[in-house]
Symmetry: C2
Subunit: 370 residues, 2 copies
């Protein structure tokens, strides 16, 4: 069926780039953090997938709102909010960091930008982490300013990102290391730019810190992009599933802990740090997870989008559910992320996906799917 | 321009009524609390407006999620979260209650249902109040369970609501007083039903506490509704603006305090209660608000939807901005809610609304607009 239209209102915020994406013919939106996220333009998801893998795209990801922690207790609070050890983090670093509650349930999975020893931005997924941070700080009497600054991330993604960004911000940007940020001049203003983004095709995120500057940044990149076959784009569902990039609300909710999401490597569970959920997470580690996110490829025709958790069966037993799905033109199969019982993770384990009335055979395929 | 489509995903939750509204031809959705809210069916907003004023509608308002506070410190925490005095609240009462932060900024404007002396549901507007409540409770070490229960409100609104609901739940429901709730049997199950809803046309909200029961409740109401000209509907923008019903995110954000929103009557600012933001709110009261929400009627043609705060001018000076707007077939004017400087609130004050390139003359008209 066709998706009904999204009704506009002030409550669902535009970004400073919305006029630009509309003039380029945006065809769909999602809503993240009370803010619109473009979901497509003139091309199909599959065409955008091939283009993203070969060229370069500009994405309005203004919905990636920042939760700013600043002040004497900012570092203490930042560490409270995540089991990832921030003790050795350095200014200029980006850190992907699960945020959990006292039951170890996932609340968000932001990228933390360390701006200064006493200043952090949490670049958040779709939940009001601001309210969690504010509540904790107030309840504990911490001395820290917590707010959402006027920052509107703009992503440039794809293998030609380095060339395009060098044109606009100068050659020095090519030296920027993965998950680091630095400041780069454009027309006399310094812009915070990170080598990061919600794809595995390489690229940058520009944290434009003043909505009045956004149009010019967009326009300069757009103008320079012609020779690189630049197109407007958005996080591509096919690409992110194949890459194993998780989406909060899809692959994980408060009912899942970091182990369920395969985020072990971002948790320093037993290190000597003080974070919320420590006891519950240690207990989860000692028990081991009963389920975990993995990839699946299945079916010889597109299953359509997954609007509720499709059951996954092995030998007739329900062993989990699909969380996100797309048709991959590269595999000529549906590719999915799924939360699957821990005993069924071996590559090529045969599964059957129950997609509405369809029963579609497939196999377990760990991500990234190469 | 046409609204782009809303893309489905698991992250934007369906409700247990979504299958029903889809089979009835829902034409648009909004997103509230990470959950879809139908915004229209086969009829225009204006046709739905007249119908709502004359007959009865059934609304999927499952997006009104509940934040449940339960346990020894539930009452203490509930009071912390709002400047409304809950001390004399009784079990069975609904209380519209502004929730503010320590700067008196609005965080949400839920209806609180007092289920027991130690059990409250906050039926929330569009922000993750759950995370605020959990953060405060954790930070203060309170003994209270905080969760989102499996509750899916269903609204029946319009002047024939009493007759329809009596058919389904029995005549006793007609005795239910405004903003009270009680339990009513259907097929052997008791349902919590309140006389409340996001219109001024009268009606009920059924807090179905088990998603497996939702379809049957919908179907029974639907079956009984034919003789009352029952239609599927949704909160009607025209009706809510004329009624002066506020929408969190539209009329108010964290930048506004309860005085700005005209919510004085719901704040016991100086009473002997302990709530977050007391000092800031007392200060705001002693200074008086510099701006406040009011109604406006303007223009002789539809202005279209308001996607950013349209400036409002008096004698050439910018005095505020429009927050929500719709074309009223009753007034044959645009009706709007607007945040306007406190000196310009006299009824019939001439204003000019700057709607994009248009300059539309109108007047201040306090709500409710009769």
């Amino acid at each position: 069926m066709n998706s009904p239209k999204l009704q506009y209102s002030r409550r669902i915020r535009k970004t400073p780039y919305t006029d630009r994406v509309e003039s380029l013919g945006v065809s769909g939106f999602s809503v993240v953090n009370h803010t619109i996220l473009p979901k497509g333009f003139q091309h199909t998801e599959q065409e955008d997938y091939w283009h993203l893998r070969e060229f370069v795209q500009i994405w309005d990801v203004g919905c990636q709102r920042q939760v700013s922690l600043k002040g004497p207790d900012a570092a203490y609070l930042a560490q409270l909010l995540t089991p990832r050890n921030l003790g050795s983090a350095e200014v200029g670093q980006c850190l992907y960091a699960p945020c959990i509650d006292q039951s170890a349930g996932m609340l968000n999975d932001p990228v933390i930008l360390m701006l200064a020893e006493d200043h952090f931005w949490f670049s958040i997924a779709d939940s009001d982490l601001l309210l969690w941070a504010k509540g904790i700080a107030l309840g504990m009497g911490l001395t820290v300013e917590i707010d959402e600054p006027d920052v509107w991330p703009l992503a440039v993604q794809g293998p030609l990102s380095d060339q395009l960004m060098s044109e606009v911000f100068g050659d020095r940007i090519a030296q920027l290391r993965f998950f680091n940020f630095d400041y780069f001049d454009l027309d006399g203003t310094d812009f915070l730019i990170a080598r990061s983004g919600f794809s595995k095709q390489g690229g940058f995120e520009i944290y434009v810190h003043n909505s009045a500057l956004c149009s010019n940044v967009w326009d300069q990149i757009w103008s320079a992009g012609g020779v690189f076959n630049l197109r407007p784009g958005c996080p591509n569902l096919i690409e992110r599933i194949e890459a194993g990039l998780l989406s909060y609300g899809n692959e994980m909710t408060r009912d899942d802990n970091p182990l369920h999401c395969g985020l072990d490597q971002f948790c320093d569970v037993n290190s000597d740090i003080h974070y919320i959920g420590r006891e519950a997470l240690q207990s989860a580690y000692s028990l081991g997870p009963e389920r975990k996110i993995t990839g699946i490829v299945f079916g010889e025709k597109s299953s359509g989008p997954c609007r509720y958790p499709w059951p996954v069966h092995v030998d007739g037993d329900a062993v989990g559910y699909v969380t996100s799905v797309a048709w991959s033109p590269r595999f000529e199969r549906n590719v999915a992320l799924a939360m699957i019982g821990i005993d069924y993770h071996a590559e090529n384990t045969p599964v059957v996906v129950e997609a509405g009335t369809l029963r579609l055979p497939g196999v377990i395929k760990p991500t990234p799917m190469n």
